[in-house]
């Protein structure tokens, strides 16, 4: 009874063959459904990943893009020789020595003129000076020292506004909250509006973000020292890890006998690639600083430690690239009488080069973003002056980001995101270079 109801009449007429075909049909449907489900899962996974990526970039860019612009206050400064060079000596050395407060006097005088402050009204003057970066006087001083011919002239100088004024102009400190909770007071807002009306206050491209070193004043802080430090480190990494890594992998891949020792070495290299980078930092502290007595915070030590972290990556990538060169190339080389070394260096290595370069650049990009080992060797430091050699103290881009992220000031928050954007731009550039090099040298068989 149930049999007759469930199975269609056709199958009973057609016998076993028809039933078999219909069963296969049902299986096909199920497999198609499974495939569709799998595709949906895949699509879902990709969509989620893209959503996260967009959210990440969105939040970083939306928080950081404002830092590429900065509030400047331009004022006419009277470079009065009687104040700057009271004894008539206009040399750079004379400007850099003597009473440091005379440059504050210059700024105060020009502020009084710009804001039409009564020279006897000290409170008004100090309220006005609150708007200007505390780094203005040293900036003016080094500006005059760099170009003593300014003395005696009158010209407009762009001063940085303080980080709080900058945040106010950009809207991250809002005017509608009660004055007691606000970092910019009502008296300052009056002055800001006055400056805006006169056209003295404007937003300009923030070149200092790329050229300045560390500063406690957010408006004067930049990633300059970190960029140079990172550059030195990349140079050290490239110079050490590329020849070492390539030589090591050529030997292991082409010349070394295959025995238990080379197996052991291979396992260890793969292991080292997975070792957390902080371990290399500890190693670097123990070996390079405590034992070899290299200077702390130096980009050379940073580069050495990062070399250790990137070497396994480069060796693995190079060996994979060498393995991918077809054996026929080697056989052909050996067949026409080339020595093993000639075969490797004239034929195999050039063909493996795109893979080697890609591996190296990706290893470098990895090293550029590496933070943990640098913390151990003192590269998370407040460094004002540019390093001239890799032996001088420096910071690196990721450690600079780490330091700014812990600062309480509002203006550092946007700078943190801006520094992340700079780092991402470098990573993107390096990865694009890797792709371009691979495309340019790629050979298909």
């Amino acid at each position: 009874m149930t049999e007759a109801a469930s199975s269609p009449p056709a199958s009973r007429i057609g016998g076993t063959d028809v039933r078999k075909i219909s069963k296969i049909d049902i299986g096909l449907k199920r497999r198609y459904a499974a495939e569709r489900r799998f595709r949906t899962y895949g699509l879902l996974a990709v969509t989620i990943a893209i959503c996260f990526l967009v959210a990440l970039f969105g939040s970083i860019v939306s928080r950081g893009y404002t830092a590429f612009q900065q509030t400047r206050i331009s004022m006419i400064v009277d470079f009065d020789p009687s104040i700057i060079a009271p004894n008539g000596d206009r040399s750079a050395a004379a400007v850099m020595s003597g009473n440091a407060f005379r440059f504050d006097d210059l700024i105060a005088a020009s502020l009084q003129k710009t804001l039409e402050i009564d020279p006897n009204d000290e409170d008004a003057l100090y309220d006005g000076l609150d708007l200007l970066s505390k780094g203005s006087a040293p900036m003016l001083r080094s500006m005059i020292a760099a170009d003593p011919s300014l003395i005696g002239t009158k010209r407009s100088v762009d001063f940085y506004a303080t980080g709080d004024v900058d945040a106010f102009i950009k809207g991250s400190i809002r005017a509608d909250i009660p004055e007691s909770q606000r970092l910019i007071k009502d008296k300052h807002i009056v002055l800001i509006e006055k400056l805006e009306k006169e056209g003295a206050l404007r937003l300009a491209f923030n070149t200092g973000l790329f050229t300045n070193g560390a500063s406690t004043r957010p408006e004067m802080a930049g990633v300059g020292v970190a960029l140079v430090g990172s550059l030195y480190m990349m140079l050290v990494v490239l110079v050490l890890s590329l020849p070492l890594g390539v030589a090591g992998s050529i030997y292991l891949e082409e010349f070394a006998p295959k025995n238990r020792w080379t197996d052991l070495i291979e396992v260890n290299i793969n292991n080292l690639a997975a070792v957390p980078s902080i371990v290399y930092g500890l190693l670097g502290l123990a070996v390079f600083i405590n034992f070899a007595h290299l200077p702390r915070s130096a980009s050379l030590v940073g580069g050495l430690v990062l070399t250790l972290t990137t070497l396994p990556t480069i060796i693995i990538a190079t060996r994979a690239a060498l393995k991918a060169v077809p054996p026929s190339i080697r056989e052909a080389g050996l067949g026409v009488g080339a020595s093993k070394m000639q075969t490797v260096f004239h034929h195999v290595l050039p063909l493996a080069m795109p893979g080697v370069l890609t591996g190296t650049i990706i290893g470098l990009a990895h090293a550029l973003g590496e933070t943990a080992p640098l913390l151990m060797i003192g590269m998370k430091a407040f460094v004002v002056e540019y390093p001239t050699t890799p032996f001088d103290p420096a910071t690196a881009l990721p450690t600079q980001i780490y330091m700014w992220a812990t600062e309480p000031e509002r203006a550092f928050t946007e700078r943190t995101s801006a520094a992340i954007i700079v780092l991402l731009a470098f990573l993107l550039a390096m990865n694009s270079l890797a792709i371009i090099l691979r495309r340019a040298f790629e050979r298909r068989w």
Binding site: M96, R182, T216, F382, F391
Partner: protein, 344 residues
């Protein structure tokens, strides 16, 4: 190969230029992240005021890490100054002496205040140390008996507090701030609630009773924050009924997000901490290697510059950043002691 020859030539070149750069050209400082902002302000101003010296290098890393680095020995590759948010321990001083750092000069630069703050839109809080002990102590006194902390809401701690689940974000155990918090808040509260007497009565020795007082409940109501104050602020942002512990400077910079609580009826401010009225504060220090004075260019000048009224006096940039200045006599005594070469 051509490339590796060039590479080795480059490395050799590096070594050649490097050997001359090995002599310490500038001051190297490491230590407490609480002192770090003041040290960087002074370092920056020092470099601006003295163009003949190179700007000092300042690292954070924490008091213990800084003192450990400091005590590694004497020489170019060791740091010259260690910042600390607590006095150096005897064990650390012994380690120093064992490594050849026999003469250490202690400089007290001022004070640091710790504040209790909650979300700006919440109610006002007026705390006493006893409230904090009852809220987050591991064992508290209930009806004359020591019991595992039963309080789940602030309203259980004291009538008049809001009906909020207790969520306290306190400095983690590796923070220098934690010691002050334990001593001036938990221990003080423990004694005020007579729980301390109960611990003694239960047979604990004095030191063990103090340790029991400083113990924090582990059921998730009190959260250790090992990171920076930014993390504490983020926790309060996401949990509007949380109460966090911050440095005074951090609070001053985030007044538009945080509402500060009073302690024993006193609101924290630079004035109340300097006068010693606000109970939760601690002195800040840095330690100088006497052997490096006169060897590292600018070290003596830097220390004297640091102690100038223009740097840590009542109207100085360090104070604007949150340092609580020491009274004038104390500052003068510290400077005089340094100049007299007094060591620990």
């Amino acid at each position: 190969m051509k490339f590796s020859t060039a590479a080795s030539a480059f490395v050799l070149g590096l070594c050649a230029t490097g050997t001359s750069a090995f002599a310490a050209e500038q001051i190297h400082i490491a230590g407490s992240s609480t002192v770090l902002p003041y040290a960087t302000i002074v370092a920056e101003a020092f470099a601006e005021a003295n163009p003949s010296f190179k700007a000092p290098i300042v690292e954070g890393g924490g008091s213990s890490a800084g003192l450990k680095e400091f005590c590694k020995g004497v020489g170019d590759d060791t740091i010259d100054i260690a910042d600390a948010s607590r006095p150096i321990k005897d064990s650390e001083l012994e380690a120093c002496k064992a490594a050849g750092v026999t003469e250490v000069q202690e400089i007290r630069i001022g004070y640091d205040g710790i504040v209790f703050a909650s979300d700006i839109k919440g109610p006002d809080f007026a705390f006493e140390p006893a409230d904090w002990f009852n809220a987050i102590g591991a064992q508290v006194l209930k009806d004359g008996q020591l019991v595992d902390n039963p309080n789940a809401k602030w309203s259980d701690v004291k009538a008049g507090f809001p009906d909020w689940d207790i969520a306290a974000y306190i400095p983690g155990e590796k923070h220098g701030t934690r010691e002050v918090f334990e001593l001036n808040v938990l221990l003080a509260g423990c004694k005020a609630t007579k729980a301390y007497d109960a611990f003694i009565a239960s047979g604990l020795a004095k030191g063990d009773a103090e340790k029991a007082c400083a113990k924090v409940r582990k059921d998730g109501k009190a959260v250790d924050i090992d990171g920076e104050y930014n993390e504490t602020l983020a926790r309060i942002d996401s949990n509007k009924t949380g109460i966090g512990v911050f440095g005074l400077a951090f609070y001053e910079n985030n007044k538009d997000k945080l509402k500060v609580a009073t302690m024993n009826g006193i609101a924290p401010s630079v004035e109340t901490i300097a006068k010693g009225e606000y109970p939760v504060s601690r002195p800040l220090f840095f330690y100088v290697k006497k052997a490096h004075l006169g060897v590292v260019p600018g070290l003596k000048e830097y220390v004297e510059f640091f102690l100038a009224d223009q740097m840590i006096g009542p109207r100085s940039p360090a104070v604007a950043k949150g340092l609580v200045p020491a009274p004038k006599e104390e500052r003068q005594k510290v400077l005089a002691d340094f100049q007299a070469g007094k060591t620990l």
